[in-house]
Point group: D2
Chain length 100, copies 4
């Protein structure tokens, strides 16, 4: 697996790497913001609203990665390779749907 993953087409998200990292930096800031809210004894319902927003942002990143992976799955490589990637993808979907 690791060596197969070293080749460019396997990554699947190279194209929008900057965008992904921008979004992750924003999410990191949101988590820091939640910590600050806790430090300041902010009302816990407001903290929960922020946490829900962070999870929504993470789901969006995850769906973007999944989409890239699905595209790579069906396009590149041989049949057996595509099949293995599809399997890995479904396991990842199960974990994200919290049923994995």
């Amino acid at each position: 697996m690791p060596q197969a993953r070293a080749t460019a087409p396997t990554r699947g998200y190279t194209a929008s790497k900057d965008e992904l990292q921008r979004r992750l930096a924003r999410i990191e800031g949101q988590v820091r913001g939640v910590s600050k809210m806790v430090a300041e004894d902010r009302y816990c319902i407001d903290v929960l609203t922020q946490i829900a927003a962070i999870e929504a942002a993470l789901d969006k990143v995850a769906l973007g990665l999944l989409d890239d992976h699905a595209r790579v799955c069906v396009l590149g490589g041989e049949e057996s390779e595509r099949e293995q990637r599809a399997e890995e993808m479904m396991a990842a979907v199960g974990r994200l749907m919290r049923r994995g």
Copy 2:
């Protein structure tokens, strides 16, 4: 869309159709059971536990269907067809993850 979908390989779940229907019949019975619980004024936390169980069973059916679809996606048909199916699949994943 409909005509392309009429050919056998597109279905993706033919193999375990009986099993799927057995599981759906069980889920239908669980929903009926919840209705009966409500009719009998059962404690609402027990009703909620049942609802969570039904959702877990539905997620399992959905993941099974997704898995079949992913397999068909990467195996059958031409590249453009596989790509379209991958797109449809990701939209379905988004809806199941409640972000669609």
Copy 3:
């Protein structure tokens, strides 16, 4: 627990019982519809869309029940009783959030 649950105020959803049962009957019909879709070899992405709709409907029922329960929690009974109900409620929320 069971005897405490036999008294009317504990139920929490008596008021909208008919509405709840109507919604559950509709959900039961939707599950039956999914089974029919499978029998007819309908395209699996369409089946998945239906499953996501059923889960949304179940979540709505669950949130309604939780809301009634929360109201009963904070209004009726003595402090120790209210505390126990709040605990049971949070366990139910955890299960519905798939983390219980």
Copy 4:
């Protein structure tokens, strides 16, 4: 709202504030780790697994906050105040269940 929330018992999570901040610091580190994985072109399925782990950790923080809030809801304050807090809590639960 703000002034009512300024008194200690309303916060609900004061007791385990350090623990909460420790967990949030860990989550922040995990998000940074995901960004690093993206920078290093790590296999996207591994990135998705990390994202699912972060969401699980966030859900745990959210459930802890909800639990504290539920306790405060049913214990402190007058009936009308408790009722309002229960309402706010259910709205937060809906957002966390992604149905809000």
